[in-house]
């Protein structure tokens, strides 16, 4: 196996990187580019903590070869916020206590972000369906669903939202 030089377009920045053919996109993001927001948990496509966008669609970085990601527009959780301002979705996760240990959060955010781009006003069922491939062992999901619903359409009478305080 020989190293190969490839160019990846991540969060609108081009990165030239030397990789082996068996490096997954997640290996390259975390180990070569220090973009450690995307997490590795199960490594076999079940948990969703490595979810990133490729051309706007959520995919598992742990089951995508870096070679296959060439030419695609990749977005990681690091690309969600503006320079010093969190996105509405990220802020809503904080306001609703949708983050506990935080390990699943990058994947949850990326899946939810893809949903909101496709369907800006999802009902609870659509949110739960979109997040069905992301596993969280802390929150029980209720707060995460509330956070996504609030990011889509802020409610004045939102019971748990801390943004009013």
């Amino acid at each position: 196996m020989e190293k190969i030089e490839i160019t990846l377009n991540i969060n609108d920045n081009p990165y030239e990187v030397m990789i082996y053919p068996n490096d997954t996109l997640l290996d390259v993001l975390r180990d070569k580019l220090d973009l450690t927001g995307s997490k590795e948990s199960c490594g076999e496509g079940v948990c969703g903590s490595c979810t990133v966008h490729m051309d706007g669609k959520p995919v598992r970085a742990c089951l995508t070869l870096a070679m296959e990601a060439q030419g695609a527009k990749i977005k990681t959780v690091e690309g969600l916020a503006n320079v010093d301002e969190l996105s509405n979705l990220q802020q809503s996760f904080i306001d609703h206590g949708a983050v506990q240990c935080g390990f699943c959060t990058p994947g949850m955010l990326m899946s939810a972000d893809a949903l909101l781009r496709e369907n800006p006003n999802p009902d609870e069922k659509a949110i739960r369906k979109a997040l069905a491939g992301n596993i969280c062992r802390c929150t029980g999901y209720a707060k995460i669903v509330q956070a996504v619903a609030h990011a889509a359409q802020p409610q004045d009478d939102c019971c748990d939202c801390k943004s009013k305080e």
Partner: protein, 332 residues
């Protein structure tokens, strides 16, 4: 988890891909979405020397109506099939099955229909880490002579857990397989070898090109049982099709009942299916009898190797087939 080493080849067109397959044969594996192949490689179940990627072969990604059939390219992502109007109208079982595969964020954009059909058979004694398997003698599928799923079995009893294949078999689909200078069409019914180790009747230098589903006014439905509604493989599933007679619109001319995740291949239950010929579309009693007959036939093939208890899986065949038949028959 690390992947074993391999050479990555990225053919730019179909011809080039077939050339590469002809050269590398069993040393090579075809990489489409990777959601099944890469998991098996990570677990050390497979270490191909070469991966031939279909990334640049956009010519294998299409859904079109042609000569009274739906043709679906093997590399078509599951999301495209779910969104397709013609599949929803003429092959609803496939649409329903694709929706159940994996989870939206997991397989629907990367996972392909070809990959779903050609996924390897599974068994909870085999689909484990290297470390887990190192504690036992090798089973048939792992190169040994033991089956942990069925005592004294002389061959592998791994289970085909493909949602797509079960639905497609009910729909009477055919597969088009290409190799260098050769093309053959095979009925999905006859595509399986009844061997758990190499479940598909396909040579290593062949490539699945497309799937052909006849459009003939038939109505279909797909039902499955799994631990979780997303991410999981089915532990039992059923694809059914009923085609009303041309002369008498309220009578069934042809029925196909296929039960999946119960054997080495999806099981087409000919006897239970033919018992519905000539029956009325609202004859629930006949549906119930056919569903019970399906359960009796399919249960004889099953072994306890994909989770839950065998009794539960077997007893769920009948309700799934019955639900499917009722839904298909009432489809407008």
């Amino acid at each position: 988890m690390l992947l074993p080493g391999f050479d990555y080849l990225d053919p730019k067109n179909l011809e080039e891909a077939l050339d590469l397959l002809a050269v590398h044969k069993e040393d090579a594996k075809v990489l489409a979405g990777g959601t099944d192949l890469l998991v098996r490689m990570k677990k050390g179940l497979l270490a191909p020397k070469v991966l031939i990627s279909l990334k640049s072969l956009n010519e294998l990604s299409y859904i079109k109506e042609e000569a009274g059939c739906i043709k679906i390219g093997a590399r078509t992502p599951l999301a495209d099939i779910i969104a397709s109007g013609t599949v929803q109208d003429n092959a609803r079982a496939l649409s329903q099955a694709c929706e159940k595969i994996g989870a939206i964020t997991m397989q629907h954009y990367r996972g392909t229909i070809g990959g779903n059909i050609l996924q390897d058979n599974r068994c909870h004694h085999y689909n484990q880490s290297d470390f887990h398997r190192s504690g036992h003698q090798a089973c048939h599928k792992n190169g040994g002579k033991i089956c942990y799923a069925r005592e004294n079995a002389d061959r592998c009893n791994s289970t085909c857990q493909s949602d797509g294949s079960t639905a497609l078999m009910a729909l009477g689909a055919k597969l088009v397989l290409l190799s260098k200078g050769h093309e053959r069409t095979v009925d999905l019914d006859k595509f399986y070898t009844a061997d758990g180790i190499m479940p598909h009747d396909m040579e290593s230098h062949e490539l699945l090109k497309d799937i052909i589903i006849p459009i003939n006014g038939a109505r279909s439905a797909y039902r499955r049982l799994a631990y979780r509604s997303a991410i999981d493989y089915p532990i039992v599933c059923a694809g059914v099709l009923v085609r009303p007679s041309d002369s008498q619109k309220d009578r069934i001319d042809e029925a196909r009942i296929v039960v999946g995740a119960m054997g080495r291949a999806p099981l087409f239950l000919a006897q239970a299916s033919s018992s519905l010929k000539g029956k009325k579309l609202d004859d629930t009693d006949a549906f119930r009898k056919a569903a019970d007959a399906s359960m009796d036939s399919a249960a004889t093939f099953a072994v306890h190797n994909v989770g839950s208890t065998l009794e539960y899986r077997c007893s769920m065949i009948s309700p799934l087939v019955l639900q499917g038949l009722k839904e298909a028959a009432s489809e407008k």
